[in-house]
C-alpha cells in the first residue's frame, strides 16, 4: 500500500476533499492576490510612466547630447526628444499671448496618448502623428484669446506656422515647464526657424526613453555619471510626488489584504486538517490493529499530505492565476490594465504558503494519528491526545506571522495585524471559556431550547472556545479590511474634495487685488486667500556661504524660493519643530518647510542669510513645518513674519476652482489681467482623481476576494463541529425531540458563538485598524462605534445561518439513517 492509494481512497471518503479544498483555497487566494497586485502595481507604474510620456526621461536645460541618443539606440531603447519653453504667440493682427511651447518629433509620446480635436472643445480623438513641420496645434482657449481659426498663420519667434488643430491633452502635460500659459504644440524641426532658443534661454529639453527594464537600467547607469548641473534623469518615482502617498497607501492596503488572505488560508487549513485527523482516528486504529507500524502510518499520511499539497498548490496556482486574470479582465477598462504581468513570484509565494500552512497546521495532527493506540478498535473511549495542539497552534501562528512578514515586507503592518489577532486569541479565548463555563448555570434556569444549546456549548467548552476564536479571526479580518478601506477612501476624498483649486494665478500686483476679488465674486468662483509673494534666495546658513552651483550630493547650495509672510500658521501646515511666532512678531525670524530645511542643513536656531532684490537680511529659524503638498493649495517653503517681509516689493498669488464647463472664464480673466500668469492644474487634478478612482475600484475587488476567503473559513469552522452536533441531534430526535427544539437549539448555539465571536472580532479589528492606520498607512484613526453592534449582529446572523444550513439534513432525514452514518 502506498500514499497514492491512500489518497485515492481517502478522496472518496470526502474528508480529504475538505483539506485539498483548503490548501487549494490558500494557494488560490495568495496567488490570485499576488498576481492581481503585481499586475495592478505594474499598471499603476505604467500610469505614472504615462505622466512622463516615457519610461525614463533625461531632462536638460542645455540640449540633448547626440551621444545619449546613440547610446540609447545601442541599448535598443525607443527615443524621442521634446523641447519646452515659454514664448509669445503672435497673430497676423499683432495680437499676442504668452504660451507654453512644446516642440516634438515623430514618435512622441512613447507612453500614453496624445488627444486632439479638429475644433476647440470639439470631439476628442487620439492623435496618430505629431504636428507636421510648419503646423502648430493650439490649446482650445487660445483660439478665442488670439482670435484665430484653423489655417491662420501664427508666429513663434521668427517662425511662421499654420494653425492646424487643437491639442486637448498630452500625457506629460504636468511635467516640465507647464503652466506659463496655454499649450501650443509644434514640430521640433521648426525650432531653428523660430530663433528663440539661444544659449542661456530658459528651455527644457527632454530625451524620452522607453524599452525593457534591463535596457533602461543599463542606460541609466551609463548616463547618470555624465549628468551635469541642470540635468537629471527621471524615473517613475521622482516626478509625481503628489501621487506618491496615494500609491503607497494603495499598495499598503493590498499588502494588508494579501497578508490577511494568508492568515485566512492558514485558518482554513488548520480547521480542515483538524477535522481530517479526527475523522481518521478509527481508520488508523484499524490499520494499526492489522499490523501497520507507527512509521508506516506516518509515511502513508505524510506522503498523502505531500500529494495533497502538490495537487492543491498546482490547482491553486492555476485557479489563482485565473482569478487574478479574471479580475483584471473584468476591471480592465476601469483599472486601465493592458495586460497581466506574468511573473514567477506569485506562484512561489503561493507554493511556500501551502508548504508552511500544511507543514505547520496539517502535519502535526496527522503525525499524531500514528500515536493512536491500536486498542481503540476494542475501546472507542480512547482518543487522540490533544495536549500538544496548543503548541501546534503556537508554532503555526509563528510560521504564519513570518509568512505575513515575508509577504508584506513590512514589520509594522505584520505587528499591527498580529496584535489584533492576539487580542482575539488570548483575551477572547479566555473570555469565551469563562462565559461558556457560566453558560450552563444560566441555561439550567432557562427554557429547554436554551438548556440544550448552552449545555452543548459547555460540554464542548474547549472546542467551542477554539471555534469561536476562529470565527472571530475570520470576522475580524473581514471587518478590518472594510474599516481600512473606508478610512482610505475617506482620506482620498478629503485629499481632493469637490472644489479643489485647479488653477493658480501668479503676478497679481497689489493694486489688482481688489479687482480680481470682484472678478471672482461676479462669477461666483471659489478661491483661496491671496498670498503675498516675494522672490528671494538663501545665500548663507550660520554665516557659511552656500555654493551658487553644484549638485545636492556636494552639500547644501543656494536656494531660490518664493517667500511669503503670515501672522498665523497656514491651514494644513503642522509645526514639527520649534514654535510658530506670536501674532505681530517684530523679530527677524523664519519658518521653513522640513525638507527645504534639511536640504539647507538648517535647524531651529540656524541663522539664514536671505537676498531679496539687492538687499540681504538675516533671519533665525524658529519653526520647521510639515506641508501637505498633495492638497494642491498654495504652500510655501519659506514664511516670514509680516513685519519683516511686508516692506519688500511683492506680488500676490492665489488659487481657484473652475469647473470644466466654465473654462471659458479663463479667457475673460487673461484678457482682463494680461500680466497675470495662470497655471492650469485641472489636468493634474483630473489625472489624480482618475488614479484614485482606479485604485479605489481595485481595493473593492480585493476586498471581495478576502470576504470570500473569510466566508469559506467560516464554513470550514462550522463544519468542524458538525459531526458532534449531528450525532447529538440524531440522538435527541430518536428520543422524540421535535424538529423545532433541535433547530432552535442549533440556532441558539451558533448564535451565542456568533455573538461572542462578533464582539471579539470588533475589539481585535479596532486595535489592528488603529495600528495599521496610524503606524503603517499614515491615516488618522477614529473608533467606529457603529461597528460594535454591527459586528455582533453580523456574527449572529452569519454563524447561525451557516450552522443551520450545515445541520439541515439532521432534521430532514430519519434519525436511524443519521445514526447509522456515524
Amino acid at each position: 500500500m502506498n500514499s497514492w492509494l491512500l489518497l485515492r481512497r481517502d478522496w472518496r471518503g470526502g474528508e480529504l476533499g475538505i483539506l485539498l479544498l483548503a490548501a487549494t483555497l490558500a494557494v488560490t487566494v495568495v496567488v490570485g492576490m499576488s498576481a492581481f497586485v503585481a499586475s495592478l502595481q505594474a499598471t499603476l507604474t505604467d500610469e505614472s510612466k504615462r505622466f512622463l510620456a516615457a519610461d525614463r526621461v533625461v531632462v536638460s536645460g542645455v540640449s540633448v547630447s547626440t551621444a545619449w541618443r546613440d547610446r540609447a539606440l545601442d541599448d535598443a531603447l525607443a527615443t524621442t526628444v521634446t523641447l519646452a519653453f515659454p514664448s509669445m504667440a503672435v497673430t497676423a493682427e499683432d495680437d499676442f499671448h504668452l504660451v507654453s511651447v512644446k516642440a516634438v518629433e515623430s514618435g512622441y509620446p512613447l507612453r500614453g496618448d496624445l488627444l486632439i480635436s479638429d475644433a476647440p472643445y470639439g470631439p476628442i480623438s487620439q492623435a496618430d502623428r505629431v504636428p507636421s513641420p510648419g503646423e502648430i496645434w493650439l490649446a482650445p482657449r487660445l483660439y478665442a484669446l488670439l482670435g484665430v481659426s484653423n489655417g491662420d498663420p501664427l508666429w513663434i519667434g521668427d517662425a511662421k506656422l499654420t494653425v492646424a488643430g487643437v491639442v486637448r491633452r498630452e500625457p506629460d502635460a504636468t511635467s516640465g515647464t507647464y503652466g506659463y500659459g496655454p499649450r501650443v504644440l509644434m514640430n521640433l524641426a521648426d525650432i531653428d526657424a523660430t530663433g528663440v532658443v539661444q544659449p542661456g534661454s530658459r528651455v527644457s529639453w527632454r530625451l524620452l526613453l522607453s524599452g525593457s527594464a534591463d535596457s533602461l537600467d543599463r542606460f541609466s547607469q551609463w548616463v547618470t555619471p555624465q549628468l551635469e548641473q541642470g540635468q537629471r534623469l527621471l524615473g517613475t518615482d521622482d516626478d509625481q510626488p503628489r501621487l506618491g502617498r496615494t500609491l503607497e497607501r494603495a499598495e499598503g492596503f493590498l499588502l494588508i489584504a494579501g497578508s490577511l488572505g494568508v492568515v485566512l488560508a492558514a485558518a482554513a487549513i488548520a480547521l480542515s486538517a483538524r477535522r481530517f485527523a479526527t475523522r481518521h482516528i478509527d481508520p488508523v486504529a484499524i490499520m494499526k490493529s492489522l499490523g501497520a507500524t507507527r512509521s508506516r502510518i506516518s509515511r502513508l499520511y505524510g506522503g498523502s499530505l505531500m500529494l495533497v499539497g502538490a495537487f492543491g498548490s498546482a490547482l491553486g496556482c492555476v485557479l489563482g492565476w485565473l482569478v487574478g486574470y479574471f479580475f483584471l479582465t473584468l476591471f480592465a477598462e476601469e483599472l486601465g490594465v493592458t495586460s497581466p504581468t506574468v511573473s514567477i513570484e506569485p506562484f512561489v509565494i503561493g507554493g511556500v504558503t501551502a508548504l508552511v500552512c500544511l507543514g505547520f497546521f496539517a502535519w502535526p495532527p496527522l503525525t499524531r494519528l500514528s500515536a493512536i493506540p491500536p486498542l481503540r478498535v476494542l475501546r472507542s473511549d480512547i482518543s487522540l491526545d490533544g495536549g500538544h495542539s496548543s503548541m501546534d497552534y503556537l508554532m503555526g501562528g509563528c510560521a504564519v506571522i513570518l509568512l505575513m512578514w515575508w509577504y508584506s515586507g513590512d514589520l509594522r503592518l505584520t505587528f499591527a495585524v498580529v496584535m489584533g489577532l492576539l487580542v482575539v486569541v488570548l483575551a477572547g479565548g479566555g473570555f469565551a471559556l469563562l462565559l461558556l463555563s457560566g453558560g450552563r448555570r444560566i441555561g439550567s434556569a432557562a427554557g429547554s431550547v436554551w438548556r440544550f444549546s448552552l449545555a452543548g456549548l459547555q460540554r464542548r467548552r474547549r472546542s467551542s472556545a477554539l471555534q469561536m476564536v476562529i470565527f472571530a479571526i475570520a470576522i475580524m479580518l473581514m471587518l478590518l479590511l472594510i474599516m481600512i478601506r473606508g478610512a482610505l477612501v475617506e482620506q482620498w476624498q478629503a485629499q481632493l474634495p469637490p472644489g479643489t483649486p485647479n488653477h493658480y494665478v501668479l503676478n497679481i500686483a497689489p493694486e489688482e487685488q481688489a479687482e480680481l476679488t470682484a472678478f471672482f465674486d461676479r462669477y461666483q468662483i471659489t478661491r483661496q486667500p491671496q498670498f503675498p509673494m516675494t522672490r528671494g534666495r538663501v545665500v548663507t546658513v550660520d554665516d557659511a556661504a552656500l555654493a551658487e552651483y553644484g549638485t545636492e550630493s556636494e552639500g547644501p547650495r543656494q536656494r531660490e524660493a518664493n517667500l511669503t509672510y503670515a501672522q498665523h500658521l497656514p491651514e494644513d501646515n503642522v509645526v514639527t519643530d520649534g514654535e510658530w511666532w506670536d501674532a505681530g512678531s517684530q523679530h527677524f525670524e523664519v519658518s521653513l518647510e522640513e525638507e527645504f530645511a534639511e536640504r539647507l542643513g538648517a535647524t531651529i536656531g540656524s541663522r539664514l542669510g536671505l537676498r531679496i532684490g539687492a538687499e540681504e537680511i538675516e533671519v533665525v529659524v524658529t519653526s520647521i513645518r510639515q506641508v501637505d503638498w498633495q492638497s494642491l493649495k498654495p504652500n510655501f517653503f519659506v514664511i516670514l513674519p509680516p513685519a519683516v517681509l511686508a516692506p519688500f516689493p511683492k506680488t500676490y498669488f492665489t488659487s481657484f476652482f473652475l469647473p470644466e464647463t466654465d473654462k471659458g472664464r479663463l479667457n475673460d480673466l487673461v484678457k482682463m489681467f494680461p500680466t497675470f500668469t495662470v497655471i492650469e492644474l485641472d489636468i493634474i487634478v483630473t489625472e489624480i482623481r482618475q488614479i484614485i478612482n482606479r485604485v479605489g475600484q481595485a481595493i473593492e475587488v480585493v476586498l471581495g476576494v478576502i470576504l470570500l476567503a473569510g466566508a469559506l473559513v467560516l464554513i470550514a469552522g462550522v463544519r468542524a463541529s458538525i459531526d458532534a452536533r449531528v450525532s447529538e441531534s440524531a440522538l435527541l430526535r430518536a428520543m422524540g425531540a421535535r424538529k423545532q427544539l433541535i433547530l432552535g437549539a442549533i440556532a441558539l448555539e451558533f448564535s451565542v458563538l456568533g455573538a461572542l465571536a462578533g464582539t471579539m472580532a470588533v475589539a481585535g479589528a479596532e486595535l489592528a485598524a488603529w495600528g495599521l492606520q496610524t503606524h503603517v498607512l499614515d491615516l488618522s484613526y477614529q473608533p467606529t462605534f457603529w461597528l460594535w453592534p454591527l459586528g455582533v449582529i453580523v456574527g449572529v446572523l452569519l454563524i447561525a445561518s451557516l450552522g443551520l444550513w450545515s445541520c439541515r439534513h439532521v432534521v430532514s432525514t430519519p434519525p436511524l439513517v443519521v445514526l447509522r452514518e456515524l
Binding site: R12, G13, M287, G291, A292, R294, L378
Partner: protein, 221 residues
C-alpha cells in the same frame, strides 16, 4: 500456539490502581478454538487486547508461536500482528471510504502481499459476497458487513484469529449464519480461534471455554 503466563493488567483511576486482570495463565494449541465468556466489565476485552498485542500488560507474558510479546515494542508487535493475527470485531470496524473488496485487501496491502485483489476476491466469494465487491459498508446490512470483516480476517491467513463479540450486533438468524461461516473458515484454514462473547451458542461451538470473573479466568469443563 498461544501461551499466557501470570498476566496482570492494572490502570490508575483517580489516584488509585484498578486491577483489571489478576494473574491469568492458560495455553491454547494451534488450530484449537477457545471462548472467553463473562459479564460486562469482567476484563474480557482487556484480555483480548493483551493477547493480540494491542496493549501492553502490567505483568506476565503472552507468547505467540514462541515469540514473547513482553519483549516487543509497539512496532514489533504491529509487525507480529501483520504476520500472524486476524481480527473480527463486534462493530465490524470496516473503513467506510473503502469498498468491500478494498477493506479485505487492506491487511494484504499493509503486509505488502502480491495478488491482494485476487486473494481478497476469493475470500469475499467464500463468504458469499462475490457480487458485492464494489459495495461500500454503508450500503451493506450488518450481517454482510460482518461477513466482509470475516473475509478480511481470513484473507491474510493468520495463525491466530481474535473475535470480539462477533455476533453482538446481529439478530439471531444472522448471528447463526455468521457463527457457521466463522467456524467453517476456521476449520479449513486451521487457524487458532479465540473469541470473547456473551453468546452461549457461540461459546458452545468452541473446543474450550473460559469464564472471566473479576479479572480472573477459569476454564469451564
Amino acid at each position: 500456539m498461544i501461551k499466557v503466563t501470570n498476566l496482570f493488567k492494572a490502570v490508575p483511576v483517580g489516584g488509585e490502581t484498578l486491577e483489571i486482570l489478576r494473574g491469568i495463565s492458560f495455553e491454547i494449541k494451534s488450530g484449537d478454538s477457545a471462548a472467553i465468556v463473562g459479564v460486562s466489565g469482567s476484563g474480557k476485552s482487556t484480555l483480548l487486547g493483551l493477547l493480540a498485542g494491542l496493549d501492553q500488560a502490567s505483568g506476565g507474558d503472552v507468547i505467540i508461536d514462541g515469540v514473547s510479546l513482553a519483549g516487543l515494542d509497539e512496532d514489533s508487535r504491529a509487525a507480529l500482528r501483520a504476520e500472524k493475527v486476524g481480527f473480527v470485531f463486534q462493530s465490524f470496524q470496516l473503513l467506510p471510504a473503502l469498498t468491500a473488496l478494498e477493506n479485505v485487501m487492506l491487511p494484504l496491502e499493509l503486509a505488502g502481499a502480491n495478488g491482494a485483489e485476487q486473494q481478497a476476491t476469493t475470500f469475499l466469494n467464500k463468504v458469499g459476497l462475490g457480487e458485492r465487491l464494489a459495495h461500500y459498508p454503508a450500503t451493506l446490512s450488518g450481517g454482510e458487513q460482518q461477513r466482509v470483516a470475516i473475509a478480511r480476517a481470513f484473507a491474510a491467513q493468520p495463525a491466530l484469529l481474535f473475535a470480539d463479540e462477533p455476533t453482538g450486533n446481529l439478530d439471531g438468524e444472522t448471528a447463526e449464519k455468521i457463527i457457521d461461516l466463522l467456524f467453517s473458515l476456521n476449520a479449513s484454514a486451521g487457524t487458532t480461534l479465540i473469541l470473547v462473547t456473551h453468546d452461549q451458542r457461540l461459546a458452545a461451538r468452541c473446543q474450550r471455554r473460559f469464564a472471566m470473573e473479576s479479572g480472573r479466568l477459569s476454564e469451564i469443563s
